[in-house]
Each structure stands twice: as C-alpha cells, then as structure tokens.
Symmetry: C2
C-alpha cells in the first residue's frame, strides 16, 4: 500500500519555507504519519522486536502467533501493515512465510523525527 517516504524533496513548496505553507507540507506530513501509524500499536512493536531479536534475523508466522497471544489472522494482518509501511520484508519459502526487518528502515523512521 504505502512505504517509507523515500526522502522526497518535499513535493510541496519551492525552497526555503516561503512563509506561505507551514514548515511541513500536508502531503509530506501524511506520508510520514503513515510510518508512525504502523508503529502506533503495541503488538506491532512487539512483532518488530521479536523479528529483530531472532537469531537468523527472520521469523515465520507460527513463531510470532504464540508469544503475542493473538489469533493467526490478526498476526497476519499486523505483519501486512508493517510490510506495507516498508518496515518488514516478506519472503515465502515452501509453506512458510519468513519476515525480516528491512535494513535501515527503523533508522530511517527515526530520522523522520529529526527532519520535522
């Protein structure tokens, strides 16, 4: 659906905040908010944490369903949100689906706060 804003040059204004629109353009703000929306759920934060802590750097859904005490469809839904936000990567091997952190995605999300 949506991914991390790829550092677009603020498709909004010309150069140096010409006093017209506010510092952060409406469209730019909407893009950045999508990333934080994906992070704004406790269970999704835990999913990211588990995937990150995994020994091989990746986890399958069956490993994620149990520790969260959530149904499998719900976990699948959260994973989809994180993939759409550009934070997780999905790779299907055989019957299993393996999720891993997109390299640098968390750092880039953190960077969004510095460029407000």
């Amino acid at each position: 659906m949506n991914s991390l804003p790829i550092l677009e040059p603020a498709t909004d204004e010309a150069c140096c905040t010409p006093a017209g629109p506010p510092a952060l353009g409406a469209e730019e703000a909407k893009q950045k908010a999508l990333v934080f929306k994906a992070l704004a759920d406790p269970n999704r934060l835990r999913l990211l944490s588990i995937v990150k802590a995994g020994p091989s750097g990746e986890s399958c859904v069956c490993d994620l369903t149990e520790p969260l005490d959530l149904g499998q469809p719900t976990v699948s839904h959260h994973l989809k949100v994180l993939v759409d936000a550009g934070l997780l990567h999905r790779e299907k091997r055989g019957t299993w689906a393996y999720y891993s952190l997109v390299p640098g995605a968390l750092e880039q999300a953190a960077g969004l706060l510095a460029t407000l």
Copy 2:
C-alpha cells in the same frame, strides 16, 4: 495522561530475555506505542514542525490554527495529545498559551526505535 517512557529497565523480565516472554514486554510495548500514537497524525506532525520552526521556539494557538485549516477546538485537542505524550510543553502567559518542544523529546522518541 501519559508521557515518554523514562527509559525504565523493562519492568518485565529478569535479565537477558530468558526465552519466556518475547523481546519486548507487553507493558513496555504499550508505553512506547503511546508515543507513536501521538505522532501518527499528519496534523500533529505539522504542529510539531511549526512549533519547532518558530523563531522563538514557541507558538500560540492562534498562530497554529490558520496554517492547518482546522477549527480551534481541534487544534487545541491535538496540542493536548502532544502535551500528554510528553512532546510539547505548555505555558500560559496572560490570555495566550504558548507551546514549545520539550527539549530532547523528539530525539528520545527516535531512540525508542533503536531499543526495540
């Protein structure tokens, strides 16, 4: 209501993720999610941006209502959410209310992503 998690030592488990609970505890995750929930709205991101870009580092509500094209009660509501999240500071002088960034709050929020 709620503020930035003050770097608590993860009131959850004993020491080194003893394989029982997942990497990020449920309570810890809920606390961190509160911060990102506050950031998960385009208009609130723009509010932070405007306050940050302000020449004196602070802005009153009347300066924030117009550029966002929102009603005054709505802006007041968003500002309250940001204050409750520990991101903004409110100071009332005379008839006006001045909002400013809590020093280091954005950096601390960004740091939450590094310690997932």
